[in-house]
Amino acid sequence: MLELRLRKRYPPRADSAAFSLEIEFRAAGGVTVLFGPSGSGKTLTLDAIAGFITPEEGRILLGDEILYDGASGVNLPPRARHCGYVFQNYALFPHMTLRENLAFAAERRPRLERHRRVNEMLERFHLAEVAGRRPHEVSGGQKQRCSIARALIGSPKLLLLDEPARGLDAPLRAELYALLGQVRAEFQVPIVLVTHDLEECFELGDDMLVLHDGRLVQSGPPRAVAERPANVEVARLLGIFNLLEAEIAELDPQRNLSRLRLGEFLLAGPYFPGRLRGDRVWLCVRPDQLGVAAREGKPGPNQMPAQLLRTVETPRAVRLEFSGGVTVELPRTEFDKHKHTKEWLVGFPPQALRLV
């Protein structure tokens, strides 16, 4: 169990604006993902846990050990923190073989046990054949496995990973996810992982912490966060929503009805508790929840006429970008039915409408 509360300010400098990190969270077992755009403080948080940077105040607890406590002045050096750290570019020592890299990390153990442990890890991570090679002589996947093995060989109480999948091609990425799944099951070590990739959060995360501008803006299981972003900021960071500015024109709790004014168009939706008539709100709806139709005569309910600006092919679907900032994602077969459509209607299913 990791408990963290910290504050660190960076004054403005010639090459960077002022930044302050103020964050508090707990991470139990399993994988906790720190998600956020670059510059949101994810890696700084990881560095503070590992002891590479010293916060101004706060407290970092790992299990029953105090790693840092601003009030009492406790600040363990990185070497005493027992946190395995997997660096972005692995940081394997280039002048040592893979075996020596692992042995370096096991030097706190007695000699005989060290030898056995290094061999065991080499076997476990399928590195035995290349153990005598230097990092630049092995493949990307082998480097990756070696860096994770090196971080784990000292039996750390916590494993930290800084964007482990950055710059990896798809097969390596899949290999990494499988490997981390295995590590999770076999080593019983809590993992904190930094990423800016939402898919990775879903793939690996038990819990997800959304960081923005040095603050924690939402936390929870990835599914819950993606289904109910706490505010428009989170919704924007997740990058998977249409965010449309609207005004509540009508609210009827009795009939569970509402009307939203979207420009000059009125949408029917369910009743939104806790809102008032006249509120300016953000309508938040996923592109795949919207539908399209060809315009023939009068539009049906919740069908908004729109102009198609652009279509983008993605591996699994087609994305249609309409005027007014509305994006719709259709399965390819669905899109093919609309080859000859000139005038479009975008359909907003009332149950898909959500406000943030």
Binding site: G51, R79, A91, F93, F104
Partner: protein
């Protein structure tokens, strides 16, 4: 004309020993200056660079006072080694070290600082003490630049004149190094000897520079 090669051998011996000692001392100083938050660190920094700017005769004079037979340091040396330091070939080693140390400390620090800090972080994270980080990670990663600097330091010490003549003197067959021998040859009108020695020194210098450049080039590759 028979040529006495003693000054060449003496110079090589002095330069070799001085470079080795300076390397040990210089790396230790570079480590201390890089890692410890010492009070008076800036002063130490300046002191290390001082021999670069002071005239060699001034340095030689200081050393003469410092290690003279009546000074405490000089007496300590005499008590420890059974003979005075000044006007021996060992004094030439001390003189040479004053050329090598500033060069080594300054360049070794630059080389150590240019090592990607992520490796040092990784080493600390894996439980290594600062001393082990230095020996096992920073130093090996900077080894080529440091080796190149050591070669340059060797070449630099080969040519010292000012400090050497002040504290080691000019005793043929005992403390007469190449640079001093050349001066001596010119002074005594032995132009032929001077020319030979000058060519020898130049050739050694070119050879040493070639080695140093290769070391740096291989590091870059």
């Amino acid at each position: 004309m028979p040529i006495d090669w003693f000054p060449l051998w003496l110079s090589l011996k002095v330069a070799g020993i001085a470079t080795a000692l300076s390397l040990a001392l210089g790396l230790w100083l570079a480590y201390v200056l890089a890692n410890r938050r010492l009070r008076g660190r800036e002063l130490l920094d300046a002191a290390v660079a001082l021999p670069l700017v002071l005239p060699p005769t001034v340095l030689g004079y200081y050393l003469l006072v410092l290690f003279g037979r009546v000074s405490p340091l000089g007496r300590l040396y005499e008590w420890a080694f059974g003979a005075p330091l000044v006007f021996t070939w060992q004094a030439a080693v001390v003189a040479a070290m004053f050329h090598a140390i500033p060069l080594l400390v300054i360049s070794a620090r630059a080389a150590l600082e240019s090592v990607d800090h992520v490796y040092e972080r990784a080493a600390r994270n894996l439980g290594a003490s600062e001393w082990r980080v230095f020996w096992r990670v920073s130093l090996p990663l900077a080894r080529r630049s440091i080796a190149a600097v050591a070669v340059l330091a060797f070449a630099r010490t080969l040519g010292d004149f000012g400090i050497t003549i002040m504290i080691a003197g000019n005793i043929p067959g005992r403390t007469q190094t190449l640079a001093v021998a050349i001066y001596d040859a010119v002074e005594s009108g032995n132009g032929a000897l001077a020319r030979v020695l000058v060519v020898v020194v130049s050739l050694v210098a070119v050879a040493v520079l070639t080695v140093a450049n290769r070391l740096v080039a291989r590091q870059a590759a």
